[in-house]
């Protein structure tokens, strides 16, 4: 029973929404503009920390706090992009990873009065939860708590709005320029477009969407911890994007939902097989504690196989993937 319910459940949680948004942001970077940003975790992190700290330490109202998070993402994009957008694809990847790691180190070791080191920021959810229209006596629905439901009620429509926006902007002249930068930077430059500026705008836009993902994730978990935004965050978002197929409006959502559902299914299945009195998988081979590793090992394997045999993902178009080194 859990084999079906739990994947359905996990594919729609606030955490799933935060990854969906991170993947939509990455789609703008990698899918449309061809920018190999491996530091998406940093955008989600500054968004979440910006909002969390603004409320927890400075008592700002929610709207202002969200603004702080978005501005933080823009600033990060400017700092990260200004020097690096002229670099070649793999260099950009290394620099963005380095920036993300520096941010994580900063959040976990400095300004401990605000960032609270590894304990993370908490106590910022009251103003958002106060807006919850659901009655307090409702208990839970489909094993989601009242708070989770509220985050999802805001989060999923937000995803739809952002997708509509992405769809519209990618049909616009701006979107066409960005896509042609992915195809041939020099050709676009010869047409008199400022490639650097367009790349920067794409980086800022995708980064802000990533920061929105940070908001949703933070509200869902009611805390912001530095280690949630490690390299794995970016890689998982990347796997989702590639699973769905880069450079398609809906693919980050499809990829993320399928990813979480499969991950959760695998987890349930392995837990079921390895627990109980006489498990099918004997404990010498795998204990329920090790299920997490096995299923994430599968994620790695899936990313490899996808990239090798179907780089366009489930719904993508092979011609539209920026995979040639430039």
């Amino acid at each position: 029973m859990d084999l079906i319910v739990s994947p359905l459940h996990d594919a729609f949680t606030p955490t799933a929404i935060s990854f969906v948004l991170a993947a939509i942001g990455l789609n703008i970077h990698f899918g449309y503009a061809g920018l190999l940003n491996f530091g998406q975790a940093a955008f989600a992190a500054v968004g979440a920390y910006g909002m969390g700290v603004a409320i927890a330490s400075f008592d700002l109202p929610l709207v202002l706090a969200i603004l702080v998070g978005l501005i933080a993402a823009v600033v990060l994009a400017l700092i990260m992009g200004a020097p690096t957008l002229r670099l070649r694809a793999d260099y950009l990847a290394i620099v963005t990873i380095a920036v993300a790691e520096i941010m994580r180190l900063i959040f976990s070791t400095t300004f401990k009065d605000y960032f609270r080191a590894r304990d993370g920021v908490s106590g910022f959810t009251d103003s958002f939860r106060a807006l919850n229209p659901l009655s307090e006596s409702m208990g839970s629905f489909a094993s989601f708590s009242r708070n989770d439901l509220w985050v999802m009620m805001v989060g999923w429509p937000l995803v739809i709005l952002i997708l509509l926006f992405v769809w519209a902007i990618m049909r616009s002249p701006w979107g066409r320029v960005v896509k042609s930068i992915r195809e041939d930077e020099d050709a676009v430059r010869s047409l008199g477009k400022n490639v650097y500026s367009y790349k920067m705008q794409a980086l800022i836009l995708g980064g802000m969407i990533g920061a929105v993902g940070g908001f949703v994730g933070a509200q869902g978990l009611a805390s912001v911890q530095p280690d949630s935004y490690n390299l794995d965050f970016t890689f998982i978002a990347f796997t989702m994007l590639i699973l769905g197929g880069a450079a398609r409006v809906l693919s980050p959502v499809a990829g993320a939902v399928i990813f979480w559902a499969l991950l959760s299914f695998l987890g349930e299945l392995l837990t079921m097989l390895s627990s109980g009195d006489s498990p099918l998988i004997p404990p010498e081979f795998m204990t329920p504690d090790q299920v997490g590793n096995i299923r994430f090992a599968f994620v790695g394997l899936a990313l490899m196989l996808l990239m090798i045999f179907r780089p366009q993902g489930l719904f993508g178009d092979k011609k539209e993937i920026a995979l040639d080194a430039r």
Binding site: A89, D90, A93, Q290, N293, M307
Partner: protein, 454 residues
């Protein structure tokens, strides 16, 4: 070229890789330690806590060290609350150190325990230098844990910044040498194939894990284990190249796609390592706590440091000479420079790349052995050093391997020296910042020639 072959071979190779990992892992849980005498505590225990109490007499000079006999360590089973405070405790027994200062205690089973050193049982004039007298630790099935109580002052009392700088520079150079060994492999692979290998750190972890397996689980002598680890690393590298990367090159997979494949591989291997080690921090059986010798009050070295440094320098020198003097070395440099031209002049490019993978992986495994001492043997070694590796390679720039070595060494020293001004937890951030600055300001590296690259 036959299009089906790479896919088939890839599948076979992944299966083989899984089989290798399975063999490695099957041996893991059987990590039973044989000891001459039965330890105190539960006689049938498979979980142990052990440690060695040595009075360092306020110096780090080995001649001053004296083992503490007859000291008592109280072992209790405890329950922790959310803030890791002990809320419940139940005595399990007491471990007493022998004439070499060692104690070992068999625990009744997995759980959380606390070990408390009874300071009153220490000889007169000996006390805890720093750290708590009570240590809590979780124990998993089949686990054993080493408790470390610091007796006497362990850190040298340093007075001036300059005094510390020398100490730090020596520590950093040591780390830099190890990083240099990995960086050589990484840049050779990058040079010949253009592949940015995000899974290179996992080759490093592989070396540490194989050494642990051979030394601590199968009880082979440490030196032999190192040889085993390097050979296993070389085999692993060969397997990766011939099973994965060569078929991909033949298929014409783009470099960016391959780079993302390395990320998948890194993810896969790291999680498999964590699965096989249960996420524990492991230790080799030998050379764990060598005593230090003070050099003119400037820095302290141990025999282990010396052995590691000497091996690193010898290996690096050998690689340098091999690259510049042998036929294969010249072929490697030719392929790095221009694969098509090299192929046209009759160099077997695939063979050269295969050799480079074998060499690079072997070097990575060797560095992993050393890092197992410095960072502890864990599945995270690769992840911890990957970006530092990239930083080292970028610092060295595009140029020769020689420059890469200098770059790595310099980075190691800079990381540790930087702790004079920045908090120690942030020292790696400094190295990453340096990586970014170098890429922006001098993409050709500190010593490299000016050349347009990116």
């Amino acid at each position: 070229m036959n299009k089906v072959t790479p896919a088939g071979r890839l599948t076979r190779c992944l299966l083989l890789l899984l089989a290798v990992l399975a063999v490695v892992g099957a041996a893991g849980p059987a990590a039973a330690q044989d000891d001459d005498e039965a330890p105190a505590g539960d006689e049938d225990a498979t979980e142990f806590v052990r440690g060695t109490l040595i009075d360092r007499k306020g110096t780090r000079d080995r001649d001053d060290d004296a083992p503490v006999e007859g000291a008592e360590v109280l072992i209790e089973a405890v329950v922790l609350d959310d803030a890791d405070e002990i809320v419940e405790r139940e005595e399990v027994g007491t471990a007493v150190t022998d004439d070499e200062g060692r104690f070992e205690f068999g625990l009744p089973g997995p759980g959380t325990y606390a070990g408390t050193l009874d300071v009153d049982t220490l000889p007169d004039g000996v006390g805890l230098a720093d750290g708590a007298d009570e240590l809590t630790f979780p124990i998993n099935q089949g686990d054993s844990r080493t408790l470390i109580f610091d007796l006497g002052a362990r850190e040298r009392q340093t007075t001036t910044q300059l005094d510390r700088a020398v100490d730090l520079a020596v520590t950093g150079a040591q780390f830099g040498l190890t990083i240099a060994i990995c960086a050589v492999g990484l840049s050779l692979i990058f040079g010949t194939t253009g592949l940015t290998n995000f899974a290179h750190g996992e080759l490093v972890t592989f070396g540490a894990l194989i050494t642990y397996l051979s030394n601590s689980v199968f009880g082979m002598p440490f030196v032999l284990s190192v040889v085993v680890a390097v050979l296993a690393g070389m085999a692993f590298g060969w397997l990766q190249d011939s099973g994965l990367w060569r078929p991909l090159r033949r298929r014409g997979t783009g470099l960016i796609a391959m780079m993302i494949v390395t990320i998948g591989l890194q993810f896969f291997l790291r999680n498999m390592y964590q699965y096989f080690t249960n996420g524990r921090l492991l230790n080799y059986d030998e050379y764990l706590t060598p005593a230090g010798r003070d050099v003119g009050g400037l820095f302290v070295y141990t025999s282990r440091d010396l052995a590691i440094a000497a091996t690193s320098v010898l290996v690096l020198a050998a690689v340098l000479i091999a690259l510049s003097k042998t036929r294969l070395g010249r072929a490697t440099r030719a392929v790095s420079d221009n694969p098509d031209l090299a192929a046209a002049t009759g160099i077997g490019v695939d063979r050269v790349i295969s050799v480079v993978w074998i060499l690079g992986s072997g070097l990575a495994a060797l560095a992993g052995v050393f890092l197992g001492f410095q960072l502890g043997v864990s599945f995270q070694i690769g992840q911890l050093i990957l970006l530092l590796l990239f930083a080292a390679v970028c610092l060295g720039g595009l140029g020769t391997i020689w420059e890469k070595m200098i770059g790595a060494l310099l980075m190691g020293v800079l990381i540790d020296i930087s702790t004079l001004v920045v908090p120690a937890e942030l020292k790696n951030a400094g190295a990453l910042l340096l990586l970014i600055v170098i890429l922006l300001v001098r993409p050709q590296g500190l010593l490299g020639r000016r050349e347009r690259i990116g």
